[in-house]
Symmetry: C2
Amino acid sequence: MMETRKTPTIQDVARSANVSTATVSRALSSPERVSESTRARVSEAIRVTGYTLNQAARSLRQRTAKTILVALPDIRNSFFSSILDAVEREATNRGYGVLVANLFNARAPAQRLQDYMLSNRADGLLLLDGSLDLSSLQTLVRPPNSVPLVVACEEIPNSGFHTVLTDNLSAAERATRHLIDLGHRRVAHLLGPEGNVVARDRLAGYTKALPRAGLEVQQQWLFRGNFDMESGFAAAAHFMSLSERPTAVFAANDESAIGFLSGLRQHGLTCPRDISMIGFDDLGVAAHYTPPLTTMRQPRELLGRMAAEMLIDILEDAEHRRGPMRIVLNSELIVRESTAHLPLRASG
Amino acid sequence: MMETRKTPTIQDVARSANVSTATVSRALSSPERVSESTRARVSEAIRVTGYTLNQAARSLRQRTAKTILVALPDIRNSFFSSILDAVEREATNRGYGVLVANLFNARAPAQRLQDYMLSNRADGLLLLDGSLDLSSLQTLVRPPNSVPLVVACEEIPNSGFHTVLTDNLSAAERATRHLIDLGHRRVAHLLGPEGNVVARDRLAGYTKALPRAGLEVQQQWLFRGNFDMESGFAAAAHFMSLSERPTAVFAANDESAIGFLSGLRQHGLTCPRDISMIGFDDLGVAAHYTPPLTTMRQPRELLGRMAAEMLIDILEDAEHRRGPMRIVLNSELIVRESTAHLPLRASG
DNA sequence: CGCTGTAGTGCAATCGATTACACACAATTG
DNA sequence: CAATTGTGTGTAATCGATTGCACTACAGCG
């Protein structure tokens, strides 16, 4: 057989098919420009030589890596890993690779992203973290760098970046109203991380729902949280120390809701007997928690897919002058067993 | 300022520093080979021009992508996303990018990996999935392809591949013994997916522990499972249909354990009052489940880190003739509240 | 002084694909 | 029939960095 000690190149294919390298290249990337018979010869030669494209060479010439960079605050977070999953699917379908950058505890996140993008390793950036410095992102996005960027899940205010997210404010309002509709009047909110835009919107939704029911926002019923179980767990201790305790809590996300319930359990309280709890996200575990968690389901798969679609559309359409795009997806109330009518409560 | 309409290249830097491109390149990759003063001039020129390396060009020349490919069965699975997290950390520290390939439901997984690897997009493959076809992997690993490969978490029997995993068999044995030590004599096992090596080892550990306590393996106490919550949930229904019910279950992983408990709850049974349950993995949610889950903790972060280390070590040491490496990490029993002494049970 | 060794640098080839341009030939048109 | 258009292919430049080889200058040595 062929005595190819090295990876076969397009040259080898050309030789084997008795055509020029230009023809081989064209047969690969624009088959319609090559005659039927030549195409067949090239295909056969590729088979015989076992040729595979050298992506580095193509990238160098075309200034395109066929790769997107997904930057996320924390891969371990089940919410983000679902998104990543959807993004990877869509990207793969469209022939793109997915490079991941975990920003959690990273030293200079913006710098890292910049290095990645400017070194031609990725063609576009999908940012799932709203906490980055606006000005360094703008440096990236504006000429001469002109990095294609889509922000998903989170949002960067006043940035004009393309964005895909869910209706956090209105969903939070609906979540809160769900509790109110069940008769609860003392409704607390377990906050997301300070400074986080999503957390801010969910708080805003909560804040908006209360007065509509004639209720007031009470500062001591805004529990500090951080989107993770530990912070929810800690908030439960705070809850216990309150003289006048809420009968329902709207948690900024499922993880913190679960942490909170876990903390409550330590103190002998049970959900929904002693307290109603609604979360946000509908993580996989929400349906199987004890009790199954009422929550606002975010369409994670859709969100990830649309974000990837948007970014790749931008990449493949060099003339994207259609202005900033913004897609808002709707969340859905999933009622399970962690919320109950107030009158149904046995006294604690 | 500089009227650079295009990304500055090493040529621009060379011109600005008044040296040759060769010198600039050396200043970047082997600074000790360049004089102090030149080095300073180059640094300054890089600053002035805003130069960033074109990774594609370097890859082409050096036949190195500075990237590893991580292939996993399902990113959404919290276990794998933790591993991915650790891998990403380690890779980043060592200057490598991480490309992810989600194999879940993928059409031709082996083919996809091969395409990735042979197209010079990644230098090495970190495989977190043991279900791939051995022969296609061997094609990849053996000359002339010679793709550096490390298998982690799972294992591919008789493959001779480098492997990092945990002591599944002995850990499963300890888990089972924990239940036995608590006085349980009717101990069931919620299986992992059929054909999965890890699941097989955990079953083997379970099978080994029983006779040591004078117990027999009962076929009807081996519940079908699939490492996910849904399968655990379904297994609970099967459990309920049993005439003689076990008093304790060792689940092949936490997810299925949670699904099982969730199913049990639907039937009015409570853990640990009616049944003791031990899981495997110690997912984040295990500590905050109701009840907090007793489980075998796998050192996920360590495992991910070591796997990445091993792979990158191999990549950077071309002469790795030291034979197949195999690292086995120990799992740790974490006792929480889902397991209880048999005598302490109130009758169901 | 002449010889050798070494540090520092430059020249130019190279990695493997893409693509602008040129060209040959066939088909179509006025 | 000449001119024009179109189709299919080849030649060679190009992308941007790395690196083998050659060279200079100077230090150390006998």
